[in-house]
Symmetry: C2
Amino acid sequence: MTAAGASERTYPVQISVEGFGDRVASRVADRESQLVLGLDPDPALLWPGAIEGVGSAGDSLAPPAARAALAVAAHCELAIDAVREHCVAVKLQVACFERLGAPGWSALAEVAERARERGLLVLADGKRGDIDVSAAAYAQAFLGETETPFGLVDGLGVDALTLNPLLGVDSLTPLVQCARGRHRGVFVLVRTSNAGAADVQELGLAGGGTVSERLARIVAELGAPGTGAAGLADVGAVVGATAPHLLQTLRDQMPHAVFLLPGVGAQGGRVQDLEPAFAPGPGGGLLAVSRGIVNAHQLTGGPPAVAAEREAARLRALVWKLAS
Amino acid sequence: MTAAGASERTYPVQISVEGFGDRVASRVADRESQLVLGLDPDPALLWPGAIEGVGSAGDSLAPPAARAALAVAAHCELAIDAVREHCVAVKLQVACFERLGAPGWSALAEVAERARERGLLVLADGKRGDIDVSAAAYAQAFLGETETPFGLVDGLGVDALTLNPLLGVDSLTPLVQCARGRHRGVFVLVRTSNAGAADVQELGLAGGGTVSERLARIVAELGAPGTGAAGLADVGAVVGATAPHLLQTLRDQMPHAVFLLPGVGAQGGRVQDLEPAFAPGPGGGLLAVSRGIVNAHQLTGGPPAVAAEREAARLRALVWKLAS
């Protein structure tokens, strides 16, 4: 490690000169894209090239978890390389890596690093939420670092992490603070893309509004001190593309939040319904598409990389036009 | 692997003859304890014996994460051995392992295995929650196994996992089904132990009741088909010991749920307020205590293991008497 590296560790707050909202705005402008490649690797649906690579390594005596993790990482890198020119970020579904145990976590770190090297923002979709002391531990795992008797242990170092706010403001604060200090961000679940979202998030409150609207207010309040020159905050919101009727209301309540928008494609959401997300500007919404891109070849035929590239190009153009 | 082992893998459903509720009831009766050792290992607060062990291994060139994970595992094993005779289960705070990356996940698996060998139930406190396909991936990671082109990859194999229900019933179902098929369980957050719980969970609903009460109804409905002979279901509830005024109401709404009760000790909850949890019987409540046991020596002085053992014995007797 260089002396400069050691010095950066002593003052870990200054990684970037811009806050997360400004970073999103400038990346979106530079790359002319709001598209986020969602990576939810299913070991049963990997691109053939990923499996062949592991097979030909001659390492057939390694445990299944280690080999599967190598293949998962190779699959993600192939997908990233196929669509990177059309994307501004990747979103890694942590569950899909955790099911492969420790080798899966290594694959998660490797994929995050590869995406970062290719100029993409890295979002970890972990939907974490816990009481303060445990929330601080998740902050260390994903956004910060951990002091140990044996030296500092770096976390994953992602640009943003998705959070579940059911435990309230004091469960979010340690993560927001850690992210803000490092010019990173968080995306808080406000209205998810699944049908079951209605069970709890759309419950009407005695004081008016819904649970989602209450969550939106929390997001707006937490993000206010972290709003940058571009008008975007470092506390974003997950708002499913499957509930377009709620989008305008939630945008009104969270005027500066970056909306992370899952649910287009496999889950039935449509890009053309997402216009309110972009009220603060082109960086106001990030469209996260996983299966719709990575499994595009299942609909179109042909090599997976070609089908993915074509679908990513289509989605990117569609969103860019809508947001401009 | 033996032929019998291979055969078990082909039919993974039959691991135990009893459902999770019955397993909890019989373990509590056998061990005469409702005490759950919470393990939230902080690398800055490990028991001295754990650090010495790693130091003396002469492996000082290993990366900090690997050494810290060894020390964390050693710490957890020392704590388990100090208090095991007083406990029925351990609760592993997943965040504290994830902050050490892949070596941390290996430590998590090792600690789970050691606790299981000592006859303790293993609860993973991950508070996971995601849309159906990702919930299924978390089920594979913690409760089941994953098919890959390279063979089956076993998950952590814990007895139960804590879940966050903000995403609704369809986000819980894959985990409940996976757990039920393996005679394992889940604990759904209903009313957490932190002050911020009031921000969302205690919101009053237009139709009457609170968000927590709505969550309680979901727990009761999901658990009904998994209620065993002892009157306990395989869908339990996390109910903080810090809100005793809610305990009777929530018990009325979830008559068969095992209550996982955090919040005694460091967070201010008191054992004597927990009586309603035990209405279904001695297995109706599990008292999870982390810092109150593991850091007991900070209050009492003396060796950590001795202080922990004394505090665990005290808490175990207090709860057992209350529940009998």
